[in-house]
Symmetry: C2
Amino acid sequence: MPKLNVVKIGGAVIEEEDKLLSFLKDFAALKGPKILVHGGGKKASLWAEKMGIPVQMKDGRRITDAPTLELISGIYAGQVNKTIVAHLQAFGCNALGLSGADGNAILAHKRPVKAIDYGFVGDVEYVNASLYQQLLDQAIVPVCCALTHDGKGQLLNTNADTITAEIGKALAKSFETKISYCFELPGVLKDIHQKDSLIEKINEASYTELLLNNTISAGMLPKLHNAFEALHAGVDEVAIGATKMINNPIPYTSITLK
Amino acid sequence: MPKLNVVKIGGAVIEEEDKLLSFLKDFAALKGPKILVHGGGKKASLWAEKMGIPVQMKDGRRITDAPTLELISGIYAGQVNKTIVAHLQAFGCNALGLSGADGNAILAHKRPVKAIDYGFVGDVEYVNASLYQQLLDQAIVPVCCALTHDGKGQLLNTNADTITAEIGKALAKSFETKISYCFELPGVLKDIHQKDSLIEKINEASYTELLLNNTISAGMLPKLHNAFEALHAGVDEVAIGATKMINNPIPYTSITLK
């Protein structure tokens, strides 16, 4: 099976131009079929403030009312996505930006209101694997933002980590798939205050042990939970580490089933 | 040769949701290969005002400094483009949004500074006809916003009428191409104050006559000039008229060479 890299970026690498350019140069140089997924960074809150739209967060998740959705559809699918695509084109990578509505790439449904009303937030129902496959066959590199749609004309805000995992899972049937979650730290750490406490390998057995020992920080748990879900759905490897890991021989946390 | 419709919308039809939905329903029902090009409407000025970015216009054209470009890339390629794409998907039309950077769809160069510095405004150099052809072959409907790129990482603001003409010209080799410019009036009028003074047919001979008699309003002249340029480049027909014309039997101005 051909190899596929699904890479997710967010946070500082999107917000700081020099970091973004350095990453995109590395990503452009990555050989073979690849997909990039990006978050929106802090720009959404920045623009919301300027436009007098109140920013409402709940457990680190954005409450997405109608004006917020309008704003983030502009930032995620427009400003951030097209900036990335234009720079990738300059680095010789034939990038093409996608929201979940484009080519019906990712269908979702509005999250039901329970204890919290998250507003226009979507839970993924279906990834259009054949669209990604067709684009990859034409040596086009999909660049996906964190927006989905419900098939009835409604755009929805969907977590970029989740989108990454769902795309990886949908394509794992046709590709040997590696998902790379890039962030500020070198990977999963034994001690969050010690950058040299990197755990280089995690499999299902060692994960259970790490959980029992309470080694893993609370913030990292959802990422690892999603990682194992993706692995069980056929993804071959999930990497968590610094942005540089995608095309440089530096250590990171490699997560596999066995 | 197969037929291709290239349709351009702007102005009120983008700004008012009921008008937009009514148009998109008609567009979705239009049979055969088709491409939609859209402007940004007044939202750019509206957001600019809210965000304290000064709006600078010169002869009806927007001066595009760096903060303005950031804003309009969000509105054109994000908010407006994805709203259109999501609604088209709901109407059963497999739309996919494109800026000029996506798949290197439209390459441009920054307009040289002469009497006026228009800022980040692009003049079209090259349309990637094979990208559009590939998408149309897959029954995907490209939805193009008024952004191009220079191939060096810079997005550029480009007039949507121009983008429409350039796409039409590039695809006229492979398709019997009709360009439809939709706007508020029923077409080219003999008297701008008389909606019933529609000129239903213009060819090159009658155009010369209309020019000699000063029949055509100044605002319409660039549209007609571009229309004949497109026709000379192989486009078969240019239609100017009300939005409803694209899929309803109402009169409009049909422009052909002979």
